[in-house]
Amino acid sequence: MATTPLTKSKIAKSKLLQMYRRMALIRRFEEESIKLYRLDKIRGYFHPYIGQEAIAVGSCGAARDDDYIVSTHRGHGHCIAKGADVKLMLAELYGRKTGYCLGRGGSMHIANVAEGNLGANGIVGGGMSLAVGAALGSLLKEDGKVAINFISDGGVSIGIFHEAINLAAIWKLPVVFVIENNFYAVSTPISQSVSIETLARRADAYNIPGTCIDGNDVILVHEEMSKAIDRARSGDGPSIIEMQTYRHTGHHCNDPGKYRDPKVVEAWMGKDPITRLAQHLGAEHGVAEGDLTAIRDEIKQEIKDAIQFAEDSPSPSVDEFLAGIPDYSFEQND
């Protein structure tokens, strides 16, 4: 199927290939993890990022490695885009001691704090405060870091959306609000949740820039994010970028997503962000299909190794948990 070409850009081929690799890694991670979920290897809620990869990868690719991100309940893609080790991620999804959160967080709370991913969040929009607070902390420390706050179209209707953006605007905090508009909050279409056409218009209420872009164009995402991040870092305050996209799956693994028109789903499948980047690499940079296949083969092995790592990892000790955890000073149970 013919797809919409990506924006022409000056981004180096090597960078584009790196972004391709990350997007393909997210896709493979999610596809294999869903299989493991069906086998009961992974429990709890699992919200796949399939279809939205360009947003996480384009955004994190535009940021500095030491910038912060705050993720959502659909957070695996952000985690990988920010450089996480898929071994430790999968171990966390398995609830193993070797996971990023020692098996205490799981899919909805996955974080990689050491590398600037302050974490996914089980409360839709709940992480906005963390991003605004991180930006406030950076301003105080004068460390020049920017916080990227991924939220969803569902997140724009929660109360903290207003308080967080307003505070960021009046204090000119170095934060970029990325609204991943996949058009559904669980099963409720965005048209039933807001009375505006584009969510980016919310920016007018705070007198900050607001733009709405094709979130399946990783180059466009990268370019718009670069501008917003530069603006934030130079002290001019926050921006809102709405990125329109579509999830290929339902809300979570057990949701067939039947509330969506199959024709619309099909049309969005034709705008798949990874296919579009692959075509761009071929057409604009002469990258052979074989080169991309080689990347995907590497990824297959990487995920295979991650699954093995998770399988082989021990569970956290119940005795150690009940005895109190050295790095977490919660009160002893008595």
């Binding site: 704090v113 906005m128 963390l130 607070g133 105080l140 505070l167 009160e331």
Partner: protein
Amino acid sequence: MTREIQYRQALNEAMFEEMRRDPLVFTYGEGIAERGGSFRVTEGLLDEFGPMRVKDTPISESIIAGAAVGAAIVGTRPVAEILFVDFTALSMDQLVNQAAKYRFMVGGRGKVPMVLRTQGGSGKGLAAQHSQSLEAWFCHTPGLKVVMPSTAYDAKGLLKTAIRDDDPVIFIEHKLLYFTGGEVPEEEYTVPFGEADVKRTGSDVTIVAWSLMVHKALEAAEQLAAEGIEAEVVDPRTLVPLDINAICTSVRKTNRLVIVHEACKRGGFGGDIAARVMERAFDDLDAPIERVAGKNTPMPFNTELEQASIPQVQDIVTTCQRVCLGAKGAV
């Protein structure tokens, strides 16, 4: 050397000292910068530390609490103020789902060294939405520490400890205590968490009370002493962590326990203390544990009704007398 200063001055000194000691400590809230706070706790901070570290916020209790979480995660030490503890109802997702759980959820690989300063309690005719005692809400949320100082000395020492603590601390002051005086050393000191203070020694009955109720308990103890009952008043100072050992030690001496709190009795933290004492020291009790607590009612505006809604000195006296009936030396 000590001198007598007000509770609010003691808190103010703690803020000055900690902000001078650590440039990563900063504070913000509603009307705290230019105005110096409703109870003058943050007075003078703006002049010395400037607008980057002392900030007025919009009326946005959710982000006031929540931004502290994010700022704490990235290594600063925010002291956020919520004007009335009643308004923490607007901050609850941030406190309960974000602040309290973060360190745990990320496997200890991040921490949340924030303080949420707020004030509660009745006694000024502020009615149902500005007079509550909501400490039990926070005590019921693992991951939060809960501090309720009763004196100027404790207020200063505990606030300094709270700011240096690596976990989120809910620091609840009492609106009737701000302008009360107390002895405070001129030298620097801190008060550790989880260490109760025996505010009065006695042998016949233990009264556990915190915040404003410590003072009512001490008044009651004086009246009881006149009739031969010596009450020991134990102020836990921090409810989480709770110095249950100190309470049990006192109960082992007096064999009787009365718990006093301003918060309504139903679901109050007194019930938790009573249960924990029975689990540990049932054999040492010579009488049932009694609670003197607020009525299970929203706080009324009218002065007489307001007074009737919370424990009074006479209620504590009567309860202690009943608990001590038949005891040696008691009437």
